[in-house]
């Protein structure tokens, strides 16, 4: 299950970045290598056969690059607009992950995105993370679930 989750997360992110932002140069690296002091953290709750969340850690530079590409405008700082646009991207990726998992009869729904701070203390049945290095910056994703 952990491997399936990892693959679904990486594939969904690849597809969304490619279709929405024309970003194709993406490599995945060990999540422990990810380091960032200034980031936009978004959590998408998951309910259904599994309960938990997907945490997206977008460094500020990555967040701004994403919104600049989508809008064709120049955003210099993270504000309500940028956070909302980045949250919607996280929402879209998460929806695609659940669609991929539904092929294996895993039935879950996602909750609206919320800003969060990564919380490493909680224990989960299944937890996997990936660190994606892309042409528009780094992204770190974690999916952590308990069986319902």
């Amino acid at each position: 299950m952990k491997d399936k989750l990892y693959k679904a997360l990486v594939d969904a992110t690849h597809n969304v970045l490619k279709l929405m932002l024309n970003v194709t140069e993406i490599s995945d690296r060990p999540a422990v290598d990810f380091s960032c002091d200034d980031e936009v953290d978004i959590a998408i709750g998951i309910v259904g056969d599994f309960q938990g969340e997907v945490i997206y850690r977008f460094p500020v530079a990555t967040s701004l690059n994403m919104v600049n590409i989508m809008s064709g405008m120049q955003f210099e700082e993270v504000d309500v607009f940028v956070t909302s646009a980045v949250s919607e991207i996280a929402n879209i990726i998460s929806g695609n992950v659940l669609t991929a998992l539904s092929v294996d009869d895993v039935k879950c729904d996602i909750l609206p995105p919320v800003q969060c701070k990564p919380d490493e203390d909680k224990e989960y049945d299944i937890k996997t993370s990936c660190y994606l290095n892309t042409a528009i910056g780094d992204i770190c994703l974690t999916i952590r679930l308990n069986r319902a």
């Binding site: 279709l19 919104v67 989508m70 809008s71 309500v80 607009f81 646009a85 980045v86 949250s87 919607e88």
Partner: protein, 136 residues
């Protein structure tokens, strides 16, 4: 420019509506992000929001009719996506009015609308075009 040729579906009537939608959203975003006080920008934003409330419904209806005409198997799912966005636009519009034109609400709406629209046209709508091409 917000519109990209890669978004074309190959269905002229729908492509024209998409281009108009992108033009309107682009104009909305430029007004939203322009310099100046919120009081100065609000009338133009309100006007665009009112237009979109009508145009989005009209476009979604036409696109759904096209899907039915080609027996698109993803029709129900796609219609749900449309309904979700229409509900969101109406909800934000009401909240915005009730709040006395709160800027943060509109900035939040703009960011989500931008990402939703690009994903919807670049990914979801392309599935309709792929199906139509395969069907021949």
């Amino acid at each position: 420019m917000l519109w990209k040729d890669q978004y074309e579906l190959g269905v002229p009537s729908i492509d024209e509506q998409h281009k108009e939608l992108f033009r309107r959203v682009e104009s909305f975003l430029q007004a939203l992000r322009s310099a100046g006080s919120w009081e100065e920008k609000a009338p133009r934003l309100n006007e665009t929001l009112e237009f979109m409330k009508g145009y989005v419904v009209e476009h979604f209806r036409d696109e759904e009719e096209y899907q039915l005409s080609i027996n698109y198997p993803g029709y129900e799912h796609h219609k749900q996506l449309h309904n979700g966005m229409v509900d969101y636009v109406l909800e934000v519009s009401e909240q915005y009015e009730r709040s006395g034109n709160n800027e943060d609400l509109m900035q939040q709406f703009g960011g989500r609308l931008l990402a939703w629209l690009i994903n919807h046209v670049a990914a979801e709508d392309q599935r309709i075009a792929d199906y139509a091409r395969k069907k021949g």
